[in-house]
């Protein structure tokens, strides 16, 4: 687990990575019922090759929150939505978030205390691993498909930069 300063209002983002998760269905149900405490974002970790794009999405989320212009219902669902390159809300939440069969999850929470992070870890039935494993476990094919990254683009850019460009430019397109 690691915390990152996003740079707006002194709020940090805490991230924790899990493999072999067996209760995604349950987590999804709790989330949709709105009874999952504390509020947390579950990202499909296969789409995360490195932490930076998630931080960019977090930045975007905090800016929107500070302007009272969230597109989704909660701060954390907004984070998942902002990680997507698509403006389509439900599609983005489905693709970048978790499904019943997801076993590889990145949990994220804004301004989390260590108690809250412990509580979150308690909910997830899986094994926590270090964030440095993101790179090797990322699903490159899925990333290239979801973000529509072309071969010429990969010649001049890292996957991380390609994802960030889509995250930041999404609403300008």
């Amino acid at each position: 687990m690691k915390s990152f300063e996003i740079g707006i209002g002194g709020i940090s983002l805490s991230l924790a990575l899990f493999v072999d998760v067996t209760n995604s269905k349950e987590l999804l149900e709790l989330m949709q019922a709105g009874t999952l405490e504390p509020e947390v974002a579950f990202l499909n970790a296969s789409l995360v090759p490195v932490v930076f794009p998630v931080l960019a999405a977090a930045y975007k989320t905090l800016v929107a929150k500070s302007r009272e212009s969230l597109t989704t219902r909660t701060l954390h669902s907004e984070l998942v939505y902002n990680y997507s390159g698509s403006k389509h809300i439900s599609e983005s939440l489905k693709r970048c978030g978790i499904s019943d069969s997801t076993t590889y999850i990145l949990a994220a929470r804004f301004g989390a205390s260590s108690d809250e992070m412990t509580a979150i870890k308690g909910h997830i039935k899986g094994t926590e691993i270090g964030l440095d494993e993101l790179e090797t476990r990322a699903d490159r094919a899925q990333i290239h498909k979801h973000y529509k990254i072309s071969v010429p683009e990969l010649g001049i850019s890292s996957v991380s930069d390609a994802i960030i460009c889509r995250i930041s430019a999404r609403d300008a397109l």
């Binding site: 707006i8 209002g9 001049i156 850019s157 960030i164 300008a172």
Partner: protein, 186 residues
């Protein structure tokens, strides 16, 4: 100068006719913020629409250029309220400075060739993709270690054209014939 609510400080690097360029940090990484300012002489509604349109066009063209395989700084954030774009900070001298340096200390042939080739390739890709740079000067190109990055000034308008190269050649021949300026007739 501090932007409200943001922790990162901004250090002005350059001011142009359209925008101010600052150096800042974005989630801990060195970044460049390009803030378009509003023109007071314009009608405020028109001004805000125009500036926003330019902002979005720049973001769109940058992503298009990347898809075409043209090296540009990565776009970290777009702020429609402040009309600001945050880019990755590219380390390296402007091509202009490299050439000036050649003037002072002598030309390094291979490096010159390398830069020229990369510029040509990049522009070729842009044009094939229907993008026009709009402000192609050596002060707008940065040489990053090992690569050449075309800086953010892609004001570009989209144009549909298939045989770009032929059109350009023909135009070039025309210009050669009559000289750069057109005649003042008509």
């Amino acid at each position: 100068m501090e932007l409200e609510g943001k922790e990162g400080s901004l250090v002005l690097i350059k001011q142009g006719a359209e925008a101010r360029v600052f150096e800042s940090t974005f989630v801990g990484r060195r970044s460049v913020v390009k803030e378009r300012f509003s023109k007071k002489y314009r009608h405020p509604l028109l001004d805000s629409k125009l500036t926003l349109k330019r902002l979005n066009t720049e973001a769109r063209c940058l992503t298009k250029a990347r898809k075409l395989g043209v090296s540009t700084p990565a776009l970290y954030a777009v702020d429609p309220v402040l009309h600001a774009l945050t880019f990755e900070y590219v380390e390296g001298p402007a091509v202009k400075d490299v050439l000036l340096d050649f003037g002072l200390h002598g030309i390094v042939e291979e490096r010159l060739d390398d830069i020229a080739t990369q510029i040509g390739n990049a522009i070729g890709k842009l044009h094939d993709g229907g993008l026009i740079h709009g402000d192609l000067t050596t002060s707008n190109m940065l040489v990053r270690i090992g690569t050449n990055k075309l800086m953010d000034r892609i004001l570009a308008a989209y144009r549909k054209s298939s045989k770009q190269w032929c059109a350009t050649l023909n135009k070039l021949a025309q210009v050669r014939q009559r000289g750069r300026k057109r005649t003042m007739i008509g």
